[in-house]
């Protein structure tokens, strides 16, 4: 018994000493890799890169790609702020790019080293969240519009106000995101979804309280299942998801309402702590090679940002009614911007809405 204790204590002390000692050596040791191969650590949404492309890249550059899965922007940010991001490349949405730039968590990307990222969809070349297009490479994009099931929703919705129809009691689905939902109500009332005006927000919340009897659930992660299984009849949804849902259930329709809504984009970024930005740049460029990009997005189902890749896509992808609806109405979109301390006001309003006070 004593031996065990002694052993435990020794291990513990060694651990402690090991922890305390290394503080001076700032640059972290390279990842141990037995084969001498380069390693690229990336953190992206799940299923957002065709695994075959990752393998092809590993072969071409004789390297190993560690693909870690992240599920939302806020978790990535919290982790990076706490000092825990040891990634060479990460993915984040528009407004988060803005925050990460402000917090100096990501580096500028030398786009002159890339060949294939220059023919972007026009409104993504210098997007509001990265006005000079220096920090981010937009990867996919979409629009938050209205999804509905033609079996139950007889009249094609045209406005966010249609969600308030009493016929849809307990059948409306909303994203589980304060900015998206409050932003939707703001849009319905003709305001900007980036407002910091208290009266406008209070108004939006009052309207949303009126919507609550219709709301079946707030859901971002499994909203697709709820719509496909016809639990929800109508609600707000990202165009990429709606396209997926429509392929599974032909009764599904998608429209961009007349008031407009949120336009968004996911971006490839290089953290300031990246140990291998060169390889990260090569990887991004590889994904944007037109043929690769086409193959990739046929697999993902979200919409392309690379116009050069369009000719390589199937007719089906180019004419997908959901993606087309988003493309045709992109000018109605408003980017969500970071709203500094007003976020606390949004969060309070959101808590109020959900706890029914």
């Amino acid at each position: 018994m004593k031996k065990i204790i002694f052993l435990m204590l020794t291990v513990f002390t060694l651990l402690l000493m090991g922890c305390g000692g290394s503080k001076e050596e700032k640059p972290q040791a390279e990842e141990p890799n037995t084969s001498g191969k380069q390693v690229l650590n990336i953190a992206c949404w799940p299923d957002i890169i065709d695994p075959e492309l990752v393998s092809a890249f590993e072969k071409k550059y004789n390297c190993r790609v560690n693909y870690d899965v992240i599920s939302n922007n806020e978790e990535t940010l919290a982790k990076m702020q706490a000092g825990g991001a040891q990634y060479d490349m990460i993915q984040a949405s528009d407004y988060m790019v803005e925050i990460m730039i402000k917090l100096k968590l990501i580096d500028k990307i030398d786009k002159s080293k890339m060949k294939h990222v220059h023919n972007m969809v026009p409104f993504l070349r210098k997007p509001a969240y990265d006005p000079n297009g220096e920090y981010s490479v937009p990867y996919d994009w979409g629009f938050t519009g209205i999804v509905y099931n033609k079996k139950y929703v007889k009249k094609v919705p045209t406005s966010w106000a249609d969600l308030w129809d009493p016929d849809y009691r307990n059948r409306v689905i909303l994203l589980n995101d304060s900015r998206e939902v409050i932003g939707m109500a703001l849009k319905k009332n003709g305001h900007s979804n980036n407002t910091t005006n208290k009266a406008e927000i209070d108004n939006a919340i009052a309207d949303l309280k009126g919507l609550m009897p219709n709301v079946m659930a707030f859901d971002t992660d499994t909203i697709k299942q709820k719509v496909i299984a016809e639990e929800a009849w109508i609600g707000m949804m990202w165009s990429g998801d709606a396209s997926f849902v429509r392929n599974e259930n032909p009764d599904i329709g998608y429209v961009v309402p007349k008031e407009g809504g949120v336009i968004w984009a996911d971006n490839m970024l290089i953290p300031t702590t990246s140990r291998n930005p060169k390889l990260a740049i090569a990887f991004i460029d590889f994904l944007f090679e037109p043929k690769n990009a086409a193959k990739n997005f046929e697999y993902i189902g979200y919409d392309q940002t690379n116009l050069d890749a369009m000719p390589f896509h199937t007719e089906e992808f180019r004419n997908d009614p959901v993606l087309k609806e988003a493309r045709d109405n992109a000018n109605k979109g408003e980017w969500l911007k970071d709203i500094d301390e007003a976020i606390v006001m949004y969060d309070r309003a959101w808590t109020e809405l959900k706890s029914g006070m």
Binding site: G20, A29, D47, N72
Partner: protein
């Protein structure tokens, strides 16, 4: 217990609770044979998910990581926790209240706070994130559960047994080995089960302290949920369930016959 109507009611009630526990799992296993990629609607029978599972490097890696981490965390936290529980049981400490408080606190702290604060610690003392940090974190949150479970078992024991052993000139080690340990065993097993269960299914804390190349199964699954859970995960869960139950049953059948007499 006499086989009375009371016994039958108890049995029926226990079975009902088991049905409650297993009903969703039966559904889950059923959907592992569903040909649709989403768990939304039933669209036909297939075994392709099982085949795909065996070729999915990401899922298999995550599963191996989870299992390794859970086993190490369980062993270490059970040993440390049992030692602490025995100490608390046998000896009176002046600072007993403080020690009790310290043991309860890790259960009280919300997971996200624990995860983030550990991440801050790890990055301050520069322990690179990975399997090591995951194991450390898992041991930390399992430890208290083990101590509490084992300690509660020891408290229900009659101290006379240990005194009797000592009166018979047993050394402290013998007393421990032949009296205390066997008596504490159900508590230790229960503590280890709780530790394993907590570790294999932890998401929030793991998310923050995981680094490149140490994705665990829950981390992988949480990521996947966003794009739609693949029935591959159902297939994996079904396999896990069937294997565990089969192992338990086999271990029972394989036991020497003498134990059977107790029935």
């Amino acid at each position: 217990m006499p086989k009375t109507w009371r016994g039958h009611v108890l049995c029926a009630y226990a079975m009902a609770v088991l049905v409650f526990l297993y009903l969703p799992l039966v559904i889950l296993a059923g959907y592992s044979f569903n040909s649709s990629r989403l768990n939304a609607v039933w669209s036909g029978f297939t075994t392709k998910w099982y085949v795909q599972l065996l070729h999915d490097r990401y899922v298999l890696d995550a599963f191996t990581n989870s299992l390794t981490i859970a086993i190490i965390a369980t062993v270490v936290s059970t040993v440390l926790g049992t030692m602490a529980a025995m100490a608390l049981h046998r000896y009176k400490f002046k600072s007993k209240n403080f020690i009790d408080g310290l043991l309860y606190l890790p259960i009280l702290v919300p997971e996200i706070v624990m995860g983030l604060s550990m991440l801050v610690l790890f990055s301050q003392v520069q322990i690179p994130l990975g399997k090591i940090t995951l194991i450390i974190a898992h041991i930390t949150f399992c430890l208290s559960f083990v101590v509490i479970t084992v300690h509660s078992r020891l408290e229900t024991m009659e101290p006379e047994l240990e005194y009797a052993a000592q009166d018979l000139y047993a050394t402290p080690w013998q007393t421990f080995r032949y009296v205390t340990l066997p008596l504490a065993m159900p508590g230790i097993v229960a503590g280890a089960l709780i530790a394993f269960t907590l570790s294999i299914d932890d998401f929030v804390i793991s998310f923050f302290v995981a680094g490149p190349d140490s994705t665990t199964l829950p981390l992988y699954i949480y990521g996947l949920v966003k794009r739609g859970l693949s029935p591959e995960i159902n297939a994996l869960s079904t396999l896990m369930m069937v294997t565990t139950v089969a192992l338990v049953v086999m271990a029972q059948i394989a036991q020497p016959a003498e134990n059977k007499k107790e029935e």
